[in-house]
């Protein structure tokens, strides 16, 4: 198969790419990388991502890494397939807000949320102890960021405007993980944010990602 995703179905970055592939109705092959055995730091994987991070992505001869770049590529390379409203690259003005909120996810939301995912979801899987002080600190920071989201989503159905775009999609893996932890209270306290979370988590393309995760238990 032309499209291959190398990584672990527990990695939020890998799930981010599958969410996009599913929105675009694209078939792909999942190549499992045994991260516990350090396979992602070995020569064979470094050829795909020299930083030793998942996912690595292939589409025929093209090799890419960085999940957010991969998603932009997928949305553009397969513009005519599946969901055609994930990006608007032909229309710079319409794309402007999508770029803004994709950056917000990457620069503002991701730092506290990825640390919470690590403490509350990943560490338990690895048999490690959660650092409660770190959790409290990052929940506080996440709360401040989500206050801005609350105001935004009070005026706009989705982050970049009226329709679901990559700006919303890129949040799915972290939100999904955190909804299964005590950190969900940060989201639950904000009505517009909660409604938006429920909406995007209910998308069929995301359900398909979770089904893939179940097929590959840890």
């Amino acid at each position: 198969m032309a499209i291959k995703v190398h990584g672990s179905v527990f990695s939020p970055a890998v799930l981010r790419v599958f969410a996009c592939l599913n929105e675009k109705d694209l078939e792909s092959e999942y190549v499992e990388i045994n991260m516990r055995a350090g396979e992602h730091k070995k020569e064979s994987f470094l050829a795909l991502n020299p930083f030793g991070q998942v996912p690595g992505f292939e589409d025929g001869d093209l090799k890419l890494f960085e999940s957010r770049a991969i998603n932009q590529y997928i949305a553009q390379a397969y513009a005519a397939k599946g969901n055609q409203q994930l990006t608007f690259v032909q229309d710079a003005k319409k794309m402007g807000p999508v770029y803004v909120w994709m950056e917000v996810e990457a620069q503002k939301f991701d730092p506290p949320s990825s640390k919470l995912v690590f403490e509350l979801a990943i560490k338990p899987l690895l048999g490690m102890n959660t650092d409660d002080a770190a959790v409290a600190e990052h929940e506080g920071k996440l709360g401040e960021v989500l206050d801005v989201y609350e105001a935004r989503l009070g005026q706009s159905k989705y982050l970049a405007g009226d329709c679901f775009t990559l700006a919303d999609l890129n949040h799915l893996p972290a939100i999904n993980y955190l909804m299964g932890t005590t950190a969900r209270k940060v989201f639950d306290a904000l009505p517009h944010v909660s409604a938006w979370c429920a909406d995007i988590l209910a998308r069929p393309a995301w359900a398909k990602v979770l089904a893939l995760q179940k097929q590959h238990p840890s």
């Binding site: 020299p50 960085e66 932009q72 590529y73 710079a92 794309m95 620069q107």
Partner: protein, 213 residues
């Protein structure tokens, strides 16, 4: 009408936007925001940028924040008035995005950490955590090894041409080279050092440095 760029010219994120505007021939006006007196956190500023950060641009009625989003927008919007900084084919564009993500996360997270520890916290009367500083430097060392390998095979990060993926590094690398004792990270890597001399020698970047005087 000139585009308004809110932010001090001395801060990294506004500089990222200014260099792009100069490359793309966009007329702009800098509206100074005093970070030391906390102008960016005041109620008057928050409607412009709800996270209380700089830069934010106003182009008539259209407003954008997040420096890399602004860079992408103008590189695209003004494509006829400046160099092609985004790539042409889908594959070229994908590589530009890939290396911009690398700058954004693998590289800039470390720079941000160093700036916080060595400049922001002392200004707030707080102490520097030198263990963290060492950790950021060690991580940056590993990241720059990957850059060295890449740049030994490719003139610019995404390929044969200068793109926004290279451009977005200008403020961060300038920080490493200016009196913090990290210059060797760049200077001692042959390909990284030539690439740096090339991208920092561009007239657009020199013009931004002039603005800082």
């Amino acid at each position: 009408m000139a585009v308004k760029v809110y932010g001090p010219v001395t801060a990294g994120c506004p500089q990222r936007v200014l260099v792009c505007l100069v490359e793309m021939g966009v007329d702009f006006e800098v509206v100074h925001v005093d970070l030391e007196t906390g102008d960016h956190k005041k109620p008057e500023f928050l409607p412009l940028q709800p996270f209380g950060q700089v830069p934010v641009v106003e182009d008539g009625d259209f407003r954008l924040f997040e420096s890399r989003a602004i860079v992408r927008y103008y590189a695209s919007k003004n494509a006829e008035h400046g160099p092609n900084l985004l790539g042409t084919t889908l594959e070229e564009k994908a590589l530009v995005d890939q290396w911009l993500e690398v700058e954004s996360h693998n590289f800039n997270d470390m720079i941000y950490g160093l700036v916080l520890q060595l400049e922001v916290l002392p200004r707030m009367g707080k102490s520097t955590d030198f263990k963290l500083v060492q950790k950021f430097v060690d991580n940056l060392d590993k990241v720059l090894d990957v850059y060295e390998e890449r740049l030994s095979k490719s003139k610019y990060l995404a390929g044969d041409y200068y793109t926004i993926a290279d451009m977005c590094h200008l403020p961060g690398i300038t920080f490493l080279l200016t009196g913090n004792g990290f210059g060797h990270l760049i200077r001692e890597r042959k390909s990284v050092n030539s690439w740096w001399n090339d991208i920092s020698g561009r007239p657009a970047w020199k013009k931004v440095l002039e603005l800082m005087k």
